[in-house]
């Protein structure tokens, strides 16, 4: 494999490793909010403790995603799955920083609010992943 061909492959692999970490953190935090795992441990502490890894893996995803798109911006624009993925990604980010963080750090940690927030979060991030997969198939 020549240098130029392996650059794409390496960046793709970094994107995939970032996906694993991001998905892992989202699953642990949101399943805790749903009361499915670690129900006796404090949800806000778990969320706060894992937040650097969520943010770090988001950085990895964005920084690896940019070169994957950069050479053919117009072609990605024409791909419906890619546009949907970007829209869902922005929604997921907005939801995380605007709602999710607030709910997990506040007094709303019990009751139905954290469960709804966790459900929406899981749904959004899963949709981003599915849209990403669809890019190569549509």
């Amino acid at each position: 494999m020549r240098d130029s061909t392996s650059a794409f492959a390496v960046i793709e692999m970094v994107h995939l490793l970032g996906l694993a970490m991001l998905g892992g953190v989202v699953l642990i935090v949101d399943l805790r909010l749903l009361g499915v795992i670690l129900p006796t441990r404090p949800a806000d502490r778990i969320a706060r403790d894992l937040a650097p890894f969520l943010k770090g893996s988001l950085v990895v995803m964005v920084l690896s995603g940019i070169p994957l798109v950069s050479g053919e911006v117009m072609k990605c624009y024409y791909n419906g799955a890619f546009r949907l993925k970007m829209l869902l990604f922005v929604l997921a980010l907005t939801f995380y920083f605007g709602v999710h963080k607030r709910v997990t750090r506040s007094a709303f940690i019990s009751g139905w609010a954290p469960r709804v927030v966790a459900g929406v979060s899981l749904g959004l991030w899963l949709s981003v992943g599915v849209a990403g997969r669809a890019i190569g198939f549509l």
């Binding site: 392996s6 650097p52 920084l63």
Partner: protein
């Protein structure tokens, strides 16, 4: 650990300054500067995922016949563009426009396939970043 994430992020950002043309899965295997048009009789069809393959016997100007493989998108993408498994019959004459494989073998990436009935089908894999990768409308 934050340091490691920052290091990975920097590394990925560094990769981002690679020549833009390198950043496609198309470029990993095919040479975008070696365009070719093949005309030949269909000898075999691999109607498979992740890529389909059409094999055609091509006669060169010396009268020698060589068998060439043409790599196309998977069955789902081709079907959505109007090409179904049964549309091609062994012995049909196909005109395939594509790009040569980097390893010099008798393989091209089928960007455009002209069928016996005159129809033009875009053959590339969605999102691979190769020439003409503009979604379903080509």
């Amino acid at each position: 650990m934050k340091l490691k994430i920052a290091a990975i992020a920097l590394f990925v950002a560094g990769l981002g300054v690679y020549p833009l043309s390198a950043h496609h899965s198309f470029a990993a295997e095919f040479d975008g500067t070696k365009a070719v048009r093949l005309v030949g009789k269909l000898t075999k069809v691999d109607w498979s995922n992740p890529h389909s393959y059409f094999y055609i016997d091509v006669q060169d100007d010396k009268g020698q016949v060589a068998n060439w493989g043409c790599e196309g998108a998977g069955p789902g993408a081709l079907s959505r563009r109007g090409l179904k498994k049964g549309d091609l019959k062994i012995g049909d004459t196909l005109v395939v426009d594509g790009y040569r494989a980097k390893d010099g073998s008798h393989l091209i990436d089928a960007r455009r396939v002209t069928l016996p009935d005159g129809r033009n089908i875009y053959g590339g894999t969605p999102g691979d970043g190769g020439p003409g990768d503009n979604g379903p409308q080509q």
